[in-house]
């Protein structure tokens, strides 16, 4: 496991830069992480998603899927693709400081 410096803090990340210790994340990191995946500004809609992801992870121990977010946070999938273009699943997890959503094999 490697660490990197974000906002002057030492943060644990995996090879792809996803944070590995969810407790190290604070809201002030989100805009910096967002810039790294090409999102210049976090709008209130971004925050609805990020806060849902954080609270759902705290309860479930897993990063929510797009379907889970659209069903439970009320943000339609189409909108998720506008907010976090191309790879919303990965980008949302990255910005919210959570493990990237799982594949299977």
């Amino acid at each position: 496991m490697t660490t990197t410096l974000i906002a002057g803090r030492e943060i644990h990340v995996d090879e792809e830069g996803f944070m590995t210790v969810p407790a190290e994340w604070t809201e002030d990191l989100a805009p910096l992480l967002a810039k790294q995946v090409g999102i210049d500004e976090l709008t209130p809609d971004h925050w609805v998603v990020i806060r849902f992801l954080r609270s759902d992870f705290a309860a479930e121990g897993e990063t929510a899927t797009l379907r889970r977010i659209s069903t439970n946070a009320g943000v339609p999938t189409k909108r998720l693709f506008e907010l976090f273009p191309q790879k919303p699943g990965k980008k949302m997890a990255y910005v919210a400081g959570l493990p990237k959503p799982k594949g299977c094999i």
């Binding site: 479930e60 999938t77 790879k87 990965k90 594949g103 299977c104 094999i105």
Partner: protein
């Protein structure tokens, strides 16, 4: 009398009653299992039907043949569960009371969940193979096939048997060559994941297969709708993939009564504890097999390994003892790759698929993460194992916990 009710007489439910019945006193325990129909389908065999390798008769058996004596089989649709009243409602308003409940109603393809999938073209140019009807219709379609673009599209995660669509793609490549049509046909695999194989070792070892077999790959594609008249699928980020024949893996969802009872997640799968298999807040209500959300693959082999852990811990729980061990997420899958060969993968929550020999370290006969003929025989033998070992609730000569012996490190 104490009452144990099992919902669903598929693989997991049948396995559970076969394991538990001999261990519970018949004078003290009444066991009931419920299913909506009489016929058990060997689902792994559905993969072979479109290519004419298996017929419908090869995958069907009467359910009752596998229900042990001392277990009552009830034929009825399950309509509701009321955990507070400890009661199940069946079709026609009939009710069953329980002290302990096991939900094993699996997960099924729901084409209606994707816009445009269930239109006029359904079972004409748009297909699935996760049901016997779907696999059979696709076999008829392929009999008339004369080239064009076959697109295999996974709609949503998780879905049962995550390797089945890849196997379909590999078999399609082989079948097209056998029928002298490969030069007039394209095969494309479209997945919402960022690769065909996403775990590092499998993607390194197996990623080349698609290229070798000239299978096209479209990744990070989350299908928004199917436009069958224009012959294309369209993703949420507005990419389009054209098809002549669409083979979809529709959204997989657990039973509707699970959703209605409030026990399920957004896909009606029930999150359970990894050692007791109990649903949160319901110590006498368990979910097994594909109905459960365990954070691992939904597959028969997983259901089998999990059933061993469940049975041990359930019986301990009845005696007031704490659970012994936690399920490690062990999965073991043959991946049919065409031309009489298959691959084999063995993995769990913490260890990704590794190369080596299986099940006997260093000996095999099966080889992990490589295409061999022996693995193909293993895959065909799985049907015998399914009917005679798994369903009957017997142990495989394999431990439920994954072994690292015999495996290389990368």
């Amino acid at each position: 009398m104490k009452k144990l009710v099992v919902l669903g007489a598929g693989l997991a439910g049948t396995m559970a009653v076969n394991r538990v019945r001999p261990r519970l006193d018949e004078d003290e325990w009444e066991i009931t299992i419920v299913d909506q129909d009489e016929t058990h389908i060997y689902q792994p065999g559905l993969l072979f039907i479109p290519f004419g390798m298996y017929q419908a008769a090869d995958v069907k058996r009467p359910r009752r043949d596998f229900i042990p004596s001392g277990v009552r089989f009830v034929l009825a649709p399950i309509e509701g569960v009321d955990p507070a009243a400890q009661r199940v409602t069946l079709g026609g308003g009939r009710q069953l009371e329980y002290d302990y409940l096991i939900i094993a109603t699996g997960t099924t393809p729901r084409p209606e969940q994707t816009a445009g999938l269930l239109g006029d073209a359904w079972r004409d140019s748009v297909h699935d193979f996760y049901t016997l009807e779907g696999a059979t219709a696709l076999a008829h379609r392929l009999e008339r096939w004369d080239g064009g673009r076959i697109v295999v599209n996974v709609m949503e995660l998780p879905f049962k048997c995550p390797v089945a669509p890849l196997e379909f793609v590999f078999l399609a490549d082989w079948w097209l060559q056998e029928h002298g049509m490969r030069d007039r046909a394209e095969v494309v695999y479209v997945t919402p994941l960022s690769g065909a194989f996403t775990k590092p070792v499998s993607s390194r070892r197996l990623g080349h297969l698609l290229e070798e077999k000239k299978v096209g790959l479209e990744t990070d594609f989350y299908t928004e709708h199917v436009d069958a008249s224009a012959g294309k699928i369209v993703s949420y980020d507005e990419r389009e993939v054209p098809f002549d024949l669409l083979v979809s893996i529709p959204v997989n969802m657990g039973a509707d009564f699970v959703g209605a009872s409030g026990l399920g997640d957004e896909l009606n799968h029930i999150p359970v504890d990894r050692s007791t298999f109990a649903a949160e807040g319901h110590p006498n209500l368990f979910a097994l097999g594909d109905a459960a959300e365990l954070g691992t693959s939904k597959a028969g082999s997983v259901a089998h390994f999990a059933a061993e852990v469940f049975t041990a811990n359930f019986l301990r729980g009845l005696r007031g003892l704490p659970p012994h061990e936690e399920f490690d997420g062990h999965a073991n899958c043959f991946i049919e790759s065409g031309f009489g060969k298959a691959m084999l993968i063995d993995f769990n929550y913490t260890t990704e698929p590794l190369p080596g020999k299986f099940p006997l370290p260093g000996v095999g006969p099966f080889t992990l993460l490589e295409e061999t003929e022996m693995n193909h025989w293993g895959k065909l033998m799985f049907r015998w194992t399914y009917w005679n070992v798994l369903l009957r609730g017997k142990d495989l000569p394999l431990p439920s916990r994954m072994l690292l012996a015999g495996k290389e490190t990368a």
